[in-house]
Symmetry: C2
Subunit: 669 residues, 2 copies
C-alpha cells in the first residue's frame, strides 16, 4: 500500500504547555533527538540506515505504577524503542532521550521483517513504470501509463525454509474516469520486488481479462449527478453547557472516567490507565492498564497465483497508526469533537504529522442509560429516564482500500465498548464474466460477481485487541462462568430443570483459550483480592455485540500458522512485556513462531497474576452488490461491563438535565 505524505514538518517553535505524562507519545523534538542520536553514532555509518519503527519504549509496569502513586517524584526516563535496517540487517535499539544515548543495539536474527516504510513502498510501486514488460502489459490492456496506479502488497510466507529476502508484490490498477482504482484491477500480472535492492525480481503476465469500465464508481460528491441518493434531513448536536471532558496533553477526564490516549505508528490509538470512579469516592479505580489494536489479519480466499498471498497483517506489516486517516471535522466526528494530532518519523527520520489522528467527543444517540416506568403502586405512575451520554475516542485507519473506524466508548455505567466499523472499498478481481449466468461453477469465483468484469473476493477481517486489564489492582483472575442445565428428577419441584452458573477460575493459560460459541458462559476478569461489601469478587465481564467469526483456514495452511490465534476469540496470557503483537513483533513474512497461541503453549499460571486478555473480533465478508463500489458501514464489537465492580448501579444517583437551557425550538421547526 502506498501512502503519500500528509504534513511535512520543518519546524516546531512552540508547544502547548500541558503537563507531560510518561506515556505520552514521542514528541516531534524527541523524534528528532532519537533520529540524530542514532545517525550521529558511529554504529551504522557509512551504511545507509532506514527507520521502520520508532515508538515510546515500554515502561516497566512496577516503575510506572510506583510513579503514579506519587507523581511528584521524577517520572521514569523517556526512552524510545527503534527498529531500523542497515546493511541488510534489522536492528533493535533502545535510546535514552534525555542523555541522547543508545542504551542497547541488538540484531534481529529471525526470518521475518519489520513494518514496511511508506517511502520504500512508494519506490517499489514506481518500479514497474520503468520496466518494459510492464509497459507492454499496460498497452496490451489498452491503457496509458498515466492512468495506471500501483501499490505494494506484502508477500506472506508459504513454507519457504531458508531465510527470505525482503520482498513485496506490486498490484496495479487503472484510474481514468474514476478515482476508485480498486474497481479497475489489472488482473493477470504478478510483480515481485526486492525491497533491499529496490528492483523487480520476477515478472509474469499470465492472462488478460478486461479491465472493468467501472462506470459510476467515483464516490466523490463533486462527481455525482442527479438523481442524488437518499438522505434524511441534517442533524447535528449542541452542548449548551459546553463540553464535559477535558484533554490535558494526552490525559483525558470525563464524568467518572480518566484515561490516557496515545498514538503509536504500529497500533494507532493506545488507551492506558483507564480508571473509573464511584460517585461517593474521589478515588479512580484502575480497569484497563493498557489497550490497543494489536493486529488486524485479513486473509483473502482465492488460491490463484495473483491472489493467494493476500493475507495481510495490517498492523504488523503496514502500521495501523501509520495508515491513520486525518479525521474530517463534522463528518468523521460530530461538531462537538476535539482532535489530537499524531507524529511519526519517516524512513529517513524526518518528521510527519497526521493532523486530527484522533477525535474525542461526547456521544448522544437519543437512547437512555436506564429507565423505568412503575405502574404497580396504586395511585402512582412513576417514570424515570436518564439519557445516555458517553465518551468516544475514535481513529480511522485507511489501509489501502479498506477503512476501519475504531471506537473506544466509555460509559458512565462503567462499561467500555470496543466497536469496529468496516467501510471503504473492496479489493476486487477482474474477470471476463459479465453476467452470473456465464458462471459455470460458483466456487471458481472465490467471491461474488458485483458488476461487469468485477468479482468481490471472499475474505475475513480479524481484529485483535490487546487488553492488559488490571481490575482494581495488579493481580487478576480469569473466570469462566458456565451455564449448566440442572435436571430435577426427585419431584422436589413442578419444574424439571433450571440452569445455574458454575464458575471456574482459570489456573493456567491452557484454561483460557476460548471459542465463544462453544458453550453458554460468561467470561470475566476478576480481582479475587478485592471484594464488594457483601463479599463478591470485583470484576468486569465481556459482552459480545456481533463479529464473532473465527478463521476457517486449515491448521496447516501457512497464513493460518502465521495467525494461529484466530481460531479462538479469546486468549488470556500472563503479562510479559515483550508479548504485545498478536502475530509477532516482526509480522512481515512471519512464520508463526511469535504469536499468542505459541506464547499460550508455555501454559503459565494466570490465576491471581497480572494477565492480558486478547479479544479478536471476526468478520467473514462475502461481498454483495451493495458493497460496490464502496461499502456501507458494518459494525461489530464487544463491551467490558462492570460486574460486581461497583457496589450498585453507579448511575442511580445521576441527575437528569432539568436545568439545562436547551436551544430554542426554532432550531427544530
Amino acid at each position: 500500500m502506498v501512502l503519500h505524505l500528509l504534513f511535512i514538518i520543518f519546524f516546531f517553535p512552540y508547544f502547548p504547555l500541558s503537563k507531560s505524562h510518561p506515556l505520552d507519545p514521542l514528541t516531534p523534538s524527541e523524534l528528532t533527538i532519537i533520529q540524530q542520536t542514532i545517525k550521529t553514532s558511529n554504529l551504522f555509518s557509512p551504511t545507509p540506515l532506514t527507520f521502520h519503527y520508532i515508538g515510546l519504549a515500554d515502561i516497566d509496569k512496577h516503575v510506572l505504577l510506583s510513579w503514579l502513586s506519587n507523581t511528584s517524584n521524577s517520572p521514569p526516563p523517556r526512552r524510545a524503542f527503534v527498529i531500523a535496517r542497515s546493511g541488510h540487517q534489522t536492528h533493535e535499539l533502545h535510546v535514552d532521550i534525555s542523555t541522547k544515548s543508545i542504551i542497547s543495539n541488538t540484531i534481529h536474527t529471525g526470518s521475518s521483517f519489520p513494518l514496511l516504510s511508506l517511502e520504500e513502498q512508494i519506490a517499489a510501486s514506481n518500479l514497474p513504470f520503468n520496466y518494459t514488460p510492464f509497459m507492454n502489459s499496460i498497452k496490451k490492456r489498452g491503457l496509458k501509463s498515466s492512468e495506471v496506479v500501483c501499490a505494494s502488497s506484502t508477500v506472506g510466507w508459504f513454507g519457504e525454509v531458508k531465510k527470505s529476502k525482503r520482498l513485496v508484490k506490486i498490484l496495479c490498477f487503472a484510474t481514468g474516469d474514476t478515482v476508485n482504482l480498486y474497481a479497475r484491477p489489472l488482473e493477470g500480472i504478478s510483480i515481485v520486488v526486492d525491497l533491499d535492492l529496490m528492483e523487480i525480481l520476477d515478472y509474469t503476465d499470465r492472462f488478460v481479462v478486461p479491465v472493468p469500465v467501472a462506470r459510476g464508481t467515483d464516490y466523490r460528491s463533486k462527481k455525482q449527478k442527479r438523481s442524488f441518493g437518499p438522505r434524511g434531513k441534517p442533524v447535528t448536536v449542541v452542548q449548551p453547557e459546553g463540553k464535559g471532558f477535558s484533554i490535558d496533553g494526552h490525559s483525558i477526564s470525563w464524568a467518572n472516567w480518566k484515561f490516557h490516549l496515545s498514538y503509536d505508528v504500529r497500533a494507532g490509538a493506545v488507551i492506558s490507565l483507564a480508571s473509573v470512579q464511584e460517585h461517593d469516592n474521589e478515588l479512580h479505580r484502575l480497569v484497563l492498564y493498557k489497550g490497543f489494536m494489536s493486529e488486524l489479519f485479513v486473509p483473502y480466499q482465492d488460491p490463484a497465483k495473483e491472489w493467494y498471498f493476500r493475507t495481510f497483517f495490517d498492523a504488523g506489516e503496514y502500521g495501523f497508526g501509520l495508515l491513520a486517516a486525518s479525521l474530517q471535522p463534522l463528518t468523521d466526528c460530530p461538531v462537538n469533537a476535539e482532535f489530537l494530532d499524531g507524529y511519526y518519523a519517516t524512513q529517513n527520520g524526518s518528521l510527519l504529522m497526521i493532523k486530527n489522528v484522533f477525535c474525542v467527543f461526547e456521544r448522544y444517540s437519543g437512547d437512555s442509560a436506564w429507565r423505568h416506568t412503575e405502574h404497580e403502586i396504586p395511585g402512582k405512575i412513576i417514570t424515570e429516564v436518564r439519557p445516555e451520554i458517553s465518551l468516544v475516542a475514535r481513529m480511522v485507519a485507511a489501509v489501502g482500500n479498506y477503512d476501519y473506524v475504531i471506537d473506544w466508548e466509555f460509559k458512565t455505567s462503567g462499561s467500555i465498548k470496543f466497536m469496529v466499523t468496516l467501510t471503504g472499498v473492496l479489493e476486487m478481481k477482474g474477470t471476463s464474466y459479465t453476467h452470473v449466468k456465464q458462471v459455470e461453477k460458483d466456487i471458481d469465483l472465490h467471491g461474488s460477481l458485483l458488476a461487469k468484469n468485477t468479482i468481490g473476493v471472499n475474505h475475513d477481517h480479524f481484529l485483535t485487541y490487546y487488553l492488559d486489564l488490571d481490575i482494581d489492582g495488579y493481580n487478576n483472575s480469569f473466570v469462566k462462568a458456565k451455564m449448566k442445565t440442572i435436571k430435577i428428577t426427585d419431584g422436589s419441584s413442578p419444574r424439571k430443570s433450571y440452569w445455574t452458573l458454575v464458575k471456574e477460575i482459570a489456573e493456567t493459560e491452557a484454561d483460557a483459550r476460548i471459542k465463544l460459541e462453544a458453550e453458554p458462559a460468561e467470561y470475566l476478569v476478576v480481582n479475587t483480592n478485592k471484594k464488594t461489601k457483601i463479599g463478591n469478587d470485583v470484576g468486569y465481564r465481556f459482552i459480545n455485540h456481533g463479529a464473532m467469526a473465527i478463521s476457517l483456514l486449515s491448521d496447516d495452511d501457512y497464513p493460518q500458522i502465521r495467525a494461529g490465534y484466530t481460531k479462538k476469540q479469546l486468549w488470556v496470557t500472563a503479562y510479559n512485556m515483550s508479548e504485545k503483537w498478536a502475530a509477532g513483533l516482526y509480522a512481515d513474512q512471519s512464520r508463526g513462531d511469535d504469536t499468542i497461541n505459541i506464547w499460550s503453549q508455555r501454559n503459565r499460571v494466570i490465576k491471581n497474576k497480572d494477565i492480558v486478555v486478547w479479544y479478536t473480533l471476526g468478520f467473514h465478508h462475502t461481498p454483495y452488490q451493495e458493497d460496490y463500489p464502496l461499502m456501507p458501514s458494518l459494525s461489530g464489537g464487544f463491551e467490558l461491563r462492570p460486574s460486581n465492580f461497583f457496589e450498585t448501579n453507579p448511575l442511580i444517583k445521576t441527575m437528569p438535565f432539568n436545568n439545562t437551557h436547551w436551544p430554542k425550538r426554532t432550531n427544530n421547526p
Copy 2:
C-alpha cells in the same frame, strides 16, 4: 402485573384529518362501535362479558396487496378480531365495523387462556388485603398493610392433564422508604387466585426471611442527595432544516423508506409494508410485509415453590402493547422526535389512551454511513465521508419490573436494524444471607447476592420477532450460504486452503430451523424471481449484533414445552394467517401445542413461497451488583441488510450536508 389506568377517554369530538389506511389501528370510535355491537347483541346477555383482546382483524394478504396496487378502489372492510370471556368460556368474534355486525362467534375449546385484563389483575392483587392469613403474614414481617403492594403473576403449566381453571398467583412487596418494591419482596408466601371466581383458592406462608431494607434503592431524582452520580455535559440534537420524515396518520415516509406503524394491544408496535426506493427510481420495493414482537419468554431459574412458575410470556399473557409506557419527551426520545398515541379497550370495553406510545425520530450518533480516504493516487489525498442519519421508531414496554426498549431503525443503506434494550428493575428474591461468605452452596442461590437479604435470580429473555418478509414480491426463498473450508492438496497453489460459500435453498420447513452458532453461514431471504442486471437473486441477509442465547431448559420441562422454539434462533415457516404468536394464540397456561416448532413439524414447502421468518434474540441474565437497584441499559439485536437487493451501494450518490446552516458555534463553547 398490575397496571393503573393511564388516560381515561370520555369523548372524541375531533380527529385529525389524515388519510386512513386499511392497516391503521382501531380508532377510539371504532373500538366503541365494536364494544357496543357485541354488548347489544343478544349473544351473551345476561351473563357478564369481559374483553381480553380487541384488535384489527388480519386482512387477507391478496386483498390488501390488490388494494395497494390501486388505492383509488375502495379499501378492504374494517373488521375487528375480539377475544372475550363470558360464562367461563372464551369466545373468538369477528366484527364488521361499518355494518356493526358480528360476522363470526366461535368458542375456544383448548385448555389455555387469553391475555389477562388489567382490571382483573388489579382486582386479584387487592384480594389479599381482605384475607386474614395474609394480614397475619404482613404483621409477622413487621410491616403495615399500607406499605405492602401486590401484583399478579401468571401460573404457567406444569403437566396438569385436566382442563385448568383461570388462575393467577399473587406476589407481594413492601414499599416504605422506596418505590422500588421489587427490592423488597415478601418471600415465603404463595397465593393462588381463581380469576373467574375472583377469590383466593390457596394460601401458604412457608417461611419468613427478612424483607430487605433496600436503602438507597429509590431511583427517583427527587430522592437523590449529594454526591450525585456521574454524567457528561448535556447533549441534544438540532435539525436546522427541520425534520426529514412525515407522518400521515400511521404512514411514515423518510428518505428512501415508507412504512406503516400501528399499535396492537398484544404486540405493541406493528410495522407493515416497509418498502425502500432506489435513488434513480420512483418505485418503492417491498421488504417487510409485516413485522412485530410476537412473544417475549422470560423463564426464571429457581425451582422453589414461590419461584418455579415464573416463566412469563409477556406478549401472550400480559400484552406487550397493553404494558407500553408513555414515552417521555426529551429523555425517552430526543428533542426531534414525534409521538403517536395508542388506544385500547379495557375489560368492560371502555376506552383508554396510552399517550406517546411510539416515538419516531431521525438519529444521528456522530457515525458515518460510509467513508474512504484514498492515499494511493500520486499527488492526491481523497477523503469522502457521509454522516449516518437513520430513522428510529421506538416503543417501550414496562412489563412490571422490566423495561424493554424496542427500536426499529431504518437506514438509508436499505438496512433495517432491530434492537432491544433491557433496563428497569430485576425481579429479586428475599434471603437471610447478608454476606457471600455465609453461602455454603452457590447453586442454592439460583442467582447472585446483590445486597443484604437480596438475591438477583438467574433468568433469560427470549424476544421473538415475526417477520413476514416479502422481498421485492410475494414469493421468497430462504438461503443458507455456508462457509466451507476447501483443502488444496494438488499443489496447485502455495495455499493449502480457502473457504467458499455453498448455498442451499431451503425446500421445506425442516431445512430452516437454525441454531446460529452451529456453523459459519450467512442466512438470506431472496426472491429468485427477481434478478439484478448482472443476474444475482435479489435478497436481504441477517446480521447478528449480540443476544444469541438459546434456552437451556431440558426439553421435557414444561416451560420449555410451552416455548419449544427457543432452542433455535431462526425458524422459517410457510405463511399462514393464523400463525402469528410464537407461543400460541392463547399463551396463558398454554401447553405447547400452538407454537412455531409445532407448526414447523408440518414441514411445508417454503421454497419460492410466501414465507415468515421468526428471529429470537436471547439474553441469559445472571445478575450483578450493578443491576441493583435498577439495571443500566443492555442492548442486543440484528440487522436485515440488503444483499444484491440494490444494483450498487444506494448511498454513493448521497450528497453531504454542505449547504446546511449549522447552529452557531457559540452553542458549543
